[in-house]
């Protein structure tokens, strides 16, 4: 595992608040647009889906792949980001 990205550290460092979905690690403009199209425009909505799936990694990644056609790495980065944020603030 390579080192964490700056985007990951920024998101995990503070409460997400009303951050955009693109603030999540592994979610760029493309995936953010798709998620926004799917109704997940905020980070906390994705967090809600993560929690609905009971923090299950495989289900969340599958959901990411299903909703925004994310790659495995992008899904993994987003999962790690939300998981660590939950461990920190939830």
């Amino acid at each position: 595992m390579s080192g964490t990205s700056q985007k990951y550290r920024n998101f995990v460092a503070e409460p997400m608040g009303n951050k955009s979905v693109t603030e999540l690690a592994g979610i760029g403009e493309t995936l953010g647009g798709r998620l926004t199209d799917a109704g997940f425009d905020k980070a906390y909505t994705v967090l809600g889906q993560y929690l609905v799936l009971k923090k299950d990694e495989e289900l969340f990644k599958d959901w990411m792949k299903e909703v925004c056609h994310a790659s495995s790495k992008q899904a993994s980065d987003c999962y790690n980001c939300l998981n660590d944020w939950c461990e920190e603030f939830l």
Binding site: G39, V52, L53, D56, E58, L59, D62, W63
Partner: protein
């Protein structure tokens, strides 16, 4: 396939029931998560060959479990239980982690893991660590035991070494002691050798000194009363004296000496190969000598006066050139003065190595060997006694005064 179609037509509640019937986790089915959950349900029903979440989860957990085997093994075992209630995969995963941990972890961690395992897994898990744990222990024990015999094998090898080393050290000490002893002996020997060398040097110096004074002594010694037969029967001890003697002077000197000497005594001499060195011996006439080495020619008397030169002339002249240093000469003179007392071992030494029978006058070195006091010592003893009195009491002046007084008394008695 009908079931799959049914899944699409099923409501969220029915779909959730189906998932619970398949043993999948109780996850709320929503519109956003419906597709994912349907995929999972289809995968579980279709024989788990499909890309369902469970196999991936198992792989993921397998990868996580070995990574966290050491310290976080209980956490890795607890997380799937929390997440997946009643799921079969965690059991298999936990089992795999156990097997994986058996290989890598030490025995105590294995025992801890075994204690944390489920009761169902305990028999299997307990057997494996018990079977697996003893192996390294046995291997260690065997290794230790194997190393123990090695040590045992080595120890006997070392013991002799130590045994050898100890004697070696003792030998060293002994060597040192011996070395010191040897050195001390060497020093002592060297001292003795020095003494001997000094004695030899003194003898040689004596000889040299005597040889220098030969002509004068010969010239001045007109009262010798030697009488010997220059060509008589060979004495039995001649060879012995030849061995030690090394006469150098020409035979002409003894012949001249023989001509100059005239005595009533008879001496038996086999030959006179080099009697010259004894020609310088001057003695008083009544002096007699008795030697233990040469009883047949033991005693004789001569009229020569006894001097240091005479006494110093009893050694080999062949070695005269060896010691020419002034120190040796001075030392020889000092010892020669001691020799005059007739009590020094030096005189005996010189007599022991004396050349009695070598020269025509084999009696010479025996002079100091006489067992009786000097026969001619009447005047000598008187002189010595007189000298001693003179040195002690200055008796000459007193005697002179006494004589003068007696003469005056006599004159007075005659005339009055």
């Amino acid at each position: 396939m009908a079931d799959v179609d049914d899944f699409d037509s099923l409501s969220n509640a029915e779909l959730r029931a189906k998932m619970l019937a398949q043993g999948l986790p109780n996850i709320p089915v929503t519109d956003s998560s419906r597709k994912v959950l349907v995929k999972r349900l289809r995968a579980s029903i279709g024989g788990q060959a499909s890309p369902a979440a469970s196999p991936k989860k198992s792989n993921r957990r397998e990868t996580l479990a070995p990574a966290a085997t050491g310290p976080s093994a209980p956490a890795a075992a607890s997380t799937p239980v929390d997440k997946l209630d009643g799921k079969v995969a965690p059991a298999t995963k936990a089992r795999r982690t156990i097997t994986a941990a058996e290989v890598k972890e030490p025995a105590r961690q294995r025992l801890e893991d075994v204690e944390r395992r489920r009761p169902v897994e305990e028999p299997v898990a307990a057997r494996k660590p018990t079977t697996a744990a003893p192996q390294p222990i046995q291997t260690r024990r065997t290794s230790t035991t194997s190393s123990a015999p090695e040590r045992k094998v080595v120890e006997p090898l070392r013991k002799p070494q130590t045994i050898v080393e100890e004697p070696a050290s003792s030998k060293r000490v002994d060597r040192e002691e011996k070395y010191l002893k040897i050195n001390s002996l060497i020093v002592l020997e060297s001292d003795e050798e020095e003494d001997e060398q000094l004695v030899q040097a003194a003898d040689l110096v004596e000889q040299e000194h005597a040889a220098r004074q030969k002509p004068t002594k010969l010239a001045s010694s007109g009262t010798t009363t030697y009488e010997f037969k220059s060509k008589l029967v060979e004495p039995p001890r001649r060879q012995v004296y030849e061995a030690t003697a090394a006469p150098v002077l020409p035979p002409s000197v003894p012949s001249a000496r023989a001509q100059a000497t005239s005595s009533s005594r008879s001496y038996d001499y086999a030959s006179n190969p080099a009697p010259g060195r004894y020609s310088s011996f001057v003695r008083t006439a009544s002096q007699g000598y008795v030697t233990a080495e040469a009883p047949p020619v033991a005693s004789y008397s001569s009229s020569y006066k006894r001097t240091y030169a005479n006494e110093l002339s009893d050694d080999n002249e062949a070695e005269e050139d060896q010691y020419e240093s002034t120190f040796a000469r001075n030392l020889a003179r000092l010892r020669a003065e001691r020799i005059g007392d007739r009590s020094s071992p030096y005189s005996r030494r010189t007599l022991a190595s004396g050349n009695v029978g070598s020269g025509s006058l084999g009696y010479e070195p025996l002079a100091r060997r006489s067992l009786r006091p000097d026969d001619n010592s009447v005047s000598v003893a008187f002189n010595r006694w007189w000298n001693s009195l003179e040195q002690k009491y200055h008796i000459k002046s007193k005697v002179f005064i006494l004589l003068v007084v007696l003469v005056l008394i006599g004159v007075y008695w005659i005339f009055y």
